[in-house]
């Protein structure tokens, strides 16, 4: 019960953060002025979901993220959705060998996720017939996304973990009192 409850909190928290991040990526000009491009940190937001949620929630969150991203980008819906969902489900399958609460794991999953999602979107766009240049600008975009997501991924993970702790009431543990070991005064009547 408690586990399901905390997973619901994680799902909702990620679902709330996704449109906020999309909107900030849409209006925030600062990264573009400093480094020339806008890093996409959606994989970093979704990392905690990939690491702890079930396949249905992962797919649903990928759908939600792609839906929000479609509102601000020219990317077709499927081009955004497929790489996020496929990578998320792959991480779900590998979960047995991952230390999900370890920062290094979160950095690696988030960074690799960013690279795979960016390249996946690029490949899907080319397959859908869009004429794109494969060159230095693509490599630069991938590197920037990987670095930003590797940095931001653990931060988002800690944030969602904290929300889980704050928002889900913990079951109180069993006390040391045991009725069979109670000391009773007076005679024992057999």
């Amino acid at each position: 019960m408690g586990d399901d409850q905390i997973k619901n909190v994680y799902s909702w928290a990620i679902a709330v953060v996704v449109p906020v991040v999309c909107y900030l990526e849409f209006i925030c000009e600062l990264p573009r002025r400093v480094i020339g491009i806008q890093p996409d940190v959606l994989p970093a937001v979704l990392t905690w979901g990939w690491l702890v949620l079930g396949p249905f929630s992962i797919t649903l969150l990928a759908f939600w993220a792609a839906l929000c991203f479609s509102g601000i980008s020219q990317n077709p819906f499927l081009v955004t959705f497929l790489p996020i969902a496929v990578f998320g489900l792959w991480i779900y399958r590998q979960r047995g060998v991952l230390l999900v609460r370890n920062s290094v794991t979160q950095i690696v999953v988030s960074g690799v996720g960013a690279g795979v999602v960016t390249l996946g979107q690029y490949i899907l766009l080319i397959l859908s017939g869009v004429k794109m240049d494969v060159g230095a600008s693509l490599i630069y975009q991938v590197i920037v996304n990987v670095v930003f997501c590797a940095v931001m991924g653990p931060i988002f993970c800690v944030f969602f973990q904290y929300l889980g702790i704050v928002l889900v009431p913990r079951k109180s543990g069993q006390g040391s009192f045991r009725p069979d070991r109670e000391i009773r005064r007076g005679r024992i009547i057999c």
Binding site: P19, V20, C22, Y23, E25, F26, I27, E29, R32, R33, G36, I37, Q38, D40, L67, C68, F69, S70, G71, I72, S73, Q74, N75, P76, F77, Q121, Y122, L125, V130, K131, M132, D133, A136, S137, L138, Y140, Q141
Partner: protein, 240 residues
């Protein structure tokens, strides 16, 4: 692309954020006005009055030139140019994906904006309207693969600008120049008027350098755009 019903649902989902963002921006401007000293405002007002008078004189001169142009065109039997109106639009946001060079503006169908309408700043052309919704539009900037512009180099040949040449905004490739073309850095580039989308003579930028491509079949030049498309806040949309 980007105009499916799913994209429209996505836009609807983000509408509250647009509202909040606009509210914050509006309040910020109000605050800035309140904090500006009165003496500064008076100085600016005087400067703007002088500028308005200068521009009024310039408009009168240009109206006379236009009348003359119209008369001469009718004398030699040329078709009259379609008059364009300009409408100021505010840039709301920008597509986060670096492969699309697209911004969203706050003018839409209700303001008379049509697909393919040229978009410019006082410095030069920035792109064309790619998609139009009721209240806002998407502008494909020069350098986006979907915004091709036929251009002419000053005292030189014609070519086509079709995509950006580097990750940083502001430099684009000018392709399909004849191999015999002699290009010098600093030559200015204007719209050629060919293609029917962009009127002739809008400044685009200046040539940086050129090279032979496709085994010397044609030349390619890099052009630095006059308009700073990485810092667009307000743009003008041409409306028929």
């Amino acid at each position: 692309m980007g105009n499916t019903w799913l994209a429209q649902v996505g836009r609807a989902l983000l509408l509250p954020f647009f509202g909040i963002g606009r509210g914050i921006a509006g309040n910020g401007e109000q605050l800035q006005l309140l904090l500006t000293p009165r003496s500064e405002l008076i100085k600016e007002n005087i400067r703007l009055r002088v500028r308005v008078e200068e521009l009024e004189l310039e408009v009168q001169r240009l109206q006379e030139v236009e009348r003359e142009n119209r008369r001469l065109r009718s004398l030699i039997g040329w078709q009259q140019q379609t008059p364009w109106k300009l409408k100021l639009a505010r840039v709301i946001g920008r597509d986060p994906s670096s492969w699309w060079r697209v911004v969203q503006i706050d003018l839409g169908e209700k303001d008379g904006v049509e697909k393919d309408a040229p978009v410019l700043t006082p410095a030069g052309l920035v792109g064309k309207v790619g998609q139009v919704d009721k209240y806002f539009s998407w502008v494909y900037l020069i350098g986006d693969p979907r915004c091709r512009v036929s251009v002419v180099v000053e005292e030189g040949p014609m070519g086509i600008i079709q995509n950006a040449s580097s990750a940083t905004a502001g430099i684009v490739d000018l392709n399909y120049l004849p191999k015999s073309a002699e290009l010098r850095p600093g030559q200015r580039v204007f719209t050629s008027g060919v293609g029917g989308i962009f009127p002739k003579g809008i400044p685009i930028g200046v040539v940086i350098d050129s090279e032979d491509v496709e085994l010397g079949l044609y030349k390619r030049a890099r052009v630095r755009l006059s308009a700073d498309i990485s810092r667009l806040e307000e743009v003008w949309v041409m409306i028929k």
